[in-house]
Symmetry: none
Subunit: 168 residues, 4 copies
DNA sequence: TATGAATGAGTCTTCATTCAT
DNA sequence: AATGAATGAAGACTCATTCAT
């Protein structure tokens, strides 16, 4: 049973990424608290979804931090990137799915910042001759996140076991 | 030729792919008819969404047909595939987004059939030595549709002009 | 059973003047319609209360119009005023009770206009020597409406029969 | 001397007379205590409102006592009455506003007793020839309290400065 | 004793759906 | 056949109230 804010938020994230239209009732029940308590913790559904998005974004950003994208061999960096973010793929799936509903620029800006960091890595790889240059680095970054979200959904739908998700 | 039903369905598809939770009211207004008429044409919201999905799937299947994936050079076939499906990317985005809501096996089966056709193409390319073999063909197919959906969303969000979507 | 907007509004006025905190449910039941229909007719509770206030104000204004306050003997005019407004006393009670909740200036302005018309009558009476001048005409007007609201409440509480309300 | 209870009660009276639908939360915050403590002091909202009404009634009664209505010149007595009760006008406004919600006979009886005392004064004045006899003394009393409540509201709404409320 | 945390009950509001015209 | 009007069901939100600390 979830007792504090962040733990409720994680539960909500799990429910919402499977069912974007989940009712507050369902989320509250999944967290083991009552609807009223959920409403006391988060003032309104919008706030809850928004904070869930912000948490997902923080998790993704932290994963990027841990991969130290700007250091060492680009190929190794991409490998570290994949290993770091794939466990968070469900967050990427949630953000991609709800993406169009976030009006707040905070999340959009954070997304763009992440995009830029990954694009910078691909550009570095292209400049160093390690990666092909047939596509703009920005597109590679976009595609990377599309694939990541795809993995997240595949895990959610049970088509892909979480343990084996880490690609080789 | 678009009958009345199909033309309403196309409008519904457009609205629903931009806003999956759109109310019947919005859809009806976008189609220029009243809610009641919309309900007469489709018995209930579920039926409407389901038929929209079926239509999207038909469109995607037709695109695959037109690409003649099993003929000629695999590289050229992939190119034909991309050119054929990218104009239908929004349908892929809709199907991917709503995907988890379709309980009916009809659509899931159709999706798997499409998946199999694309996977077969990649496998043919791998066998002929034209494509790399580092990843299973099934994964390549999955990734292909993830990217396609990504393109569809990018177009919807205005980040990518429809005309320039066709990658080279 | 009430069928159109104005008739529903009158019913709502009756309920609200007896129970300012009456739920939409009660109002709808009193009008013989469902909550949902009530919500279709008036977008939200605030709108309903506001329109009820506007209607009450219109009724009171019309009563003042019919009394032709600026014509003839001031004493006779006051008598006509009393006879015209006392049947509408419940509206005055409603407006006085809810008064503090109306943020919209429309109603406040209308109230001040009514106040001014009555004050003008008292002033005319004072200038003509027919009325005493011990109190400012503005105070007499204020007191007049206080008494009118008092009559409205007395009728609502059954302490005063509507027929006998017209004072002599 | 104001005990804890009475001081909270006075605060509650102030809040409730301005906003009859004020939540327990607001009242508690205005009193500088927590909701839970407020609930320990008064068992339920109804009890709080009821006790507030009883306190208001006590204050009004005490004001009447201090005016010694049954002694001396009726005209002077009315003047003393006005001076005594006008500072308590907000209590009269509260009682008039909430009046219809009090089911308990205690308050209604007290109100009638006050009514009777004021009516007796007017009757004494009429019998002594000091007041006109055009209206029944009971009506004069009713009107007196209506006007008093009107003054209370005017003060609350800021239309009338407390200091200048005492009419001449 | 006083309080932050939790909740059941009730209100407002919306939506998919039906019906009379 | 098409529509405006009406509604039951369901969701978001609030509030008075209780309880563990």
């Amino acid at each position: 049973m979830a007792t504090d804010r962040d733990s409720v938020l994680l539960t909500a994230l799990g429910v919402l990424s499977r069912q974007p239209t989940a009712a507050m009732d369902e989320i509250a029940r999944a967290a083991g608290i009552s609807r009223a308590t959920l409403h006391r913790l988060f003032p309104g559904r919008d706030a809850l979804v928004h904070e869930a998005g912000a948490l997902a974004m923080r998790r993704m950003s932290a994963a990027l931090d841990s991969a130290a994208l700007d250091q060492g061999d680009p190929v190794a960096a991409v490998r570290r990137l994949a290993e770091a973010v794939i466990p968070e793929a469900n967050f990427a799936a949630f953000l991609t799915g709800e993406g169009r509903l976030f009006e707040d620029d905070t999340i959009n800006d954070a997304w763009e910042a992440m995009d830029a960091r990954v694009a910078a890595l691909f550009l570095r790889g292209q400049n160093s001759g390690a990666f092909r240059v047939e596509l703009p680095a920005a597109w590679l970054s976009e595609a990377f996140f599309d694939l990541l979200a795809g993995v997240g959904w595949a895990v959610q739908e049970g088509r892909l076991a979480p343990a084996t998700a880490t690609t080789r």
